[in-house]
Amino acid sequence: MQDFGDAFGLAFALVLARDGDLMEIIGLSLRVSLCAMLVSSAIALPFGALVAISRFSGRGAVIVLMNALMGLPPVVVGLLVYLLLSNAGPLGSLGLLYTPSAMIIAQSILITPIIAALARQVIEDLHVEYAEQFRSLCVPVRTAIGALLWDARYSLLTVALAGFGRAIAEVGAVIIVGGNINHLTRVMTTAIALETSKGDLALALALGMVLLAIALVVNAGVMALRSTATRVAYA
């Protein structure tokens, strides 16, 4: 209990003092995870929508695979990206290992199946409602996907947020491909892991609380947006 009390006090103190190192870590965490979320959303949302409205043999297997990949172990993803980006790997010449870009790649791979699988479900539910009307209007597949993505945008924002939450909270992948290098690739989770290993549990907990606070603020913002949208009947 003493640790928790200290942690709360320290967390407030760190935030109020706007500690430079902490701000840098928070900034990098947000930058990496937001970039990963954007990259993944750009790939996963259209893919999820395509799977949602298409009928082809093997569709069930694709859906099962998408759902299964939601549980990708971050350490395995980190290891695969490490192998790809290491000097001996096929993308070694890009020199991305131990950079924020590598962390973005790893997090994107990790959360793309999550966003795709959840988006597929959201779009499929909406498509059930629109399908007959779209068939009647002879809406081309591309237009249908665009319309479904647009009309489900508030639900899909929650989906993207789920990806963001997974990305910003994971440590296994980013520590392998980022290396937790101070002032370069240190993010909240890797800093927490480091402080824990050093035995500074209060600081580790304080960082954890800051991380939690960020997640709460982002979620509250999206929730407010969604409830406004629901109120005006767009969601």
């Binding site: 409602e129 009647s136 319309a147 767009y234």
Partner: protein
Amino acid sequence: MLSASHPLHATAGTGQARERTKAGGGAMEALLPGEVHDLSLEVQGKRLIDGVNLRITGGQITVVMGPNGAGKSLLLRLLHGLIAPTTGDISWAGRQLTEAVRSRQAMVFQRPVLLRRSVAANVDFVLKLRGIGSAERRDGILEHARLSESANQPARLLSGGEQQRLALARALAMEPGVLFLDEPTASLDPASTLLIEEMVRTAHGRGTKIIFVTHDIGQARRLADEVVFLHRGQVQEHTSAEEFFAAPNSDAARDYLAGRILL
């Protein structure tokens, strides 16, 4: 009815619309007659549409009537190509029901399916789809549907009658040669029903072939030029409205018009 100065006429192909009406329907001529031969639909061993033969010609409002479960909505979906028949053929002006043919038809469903957007954006979607979008055109369509004041409202906040008028306006925005309406007024009050009927008559006057499903006998009397009466998936009668209401030939139609329950 639309006046000559109505925005719908003033904006989109004014001359074409008038020519169409004079000639008995340009778009209509291109799609009609519709021919249905031995049409059947079987689902899980149950025959829901049973050997239907029909010839659908222009010039009249065709009302499809029958008790619940007669197959009215299924027949409409088959005619529009939303579902495939088990056996039989459907052709429009001698052409199979291809995407090109279907794109010149439109359908209004019993429960309006509106996009989660504003009223104006719902119309814009269809106009853009047809490559004929313009604000002036959209405004004319909304005015025709008496929805101008709600243009920027979310479509889902409209009343049931307004939603159905929007769905109908959106369908008419496609300038269809054939318009299918599947009990569009089933859950509407009399005032909203009359507004829908007025829009349907206007569309008919502009040359669109109307095929209207209803089980409301009063509505059928108001709208129908000819009646197709269905019972148990079979066409029992296909005759002029006058003859149908004056002297129905089949027992099922007589019982239906007399208000007796048909099983």
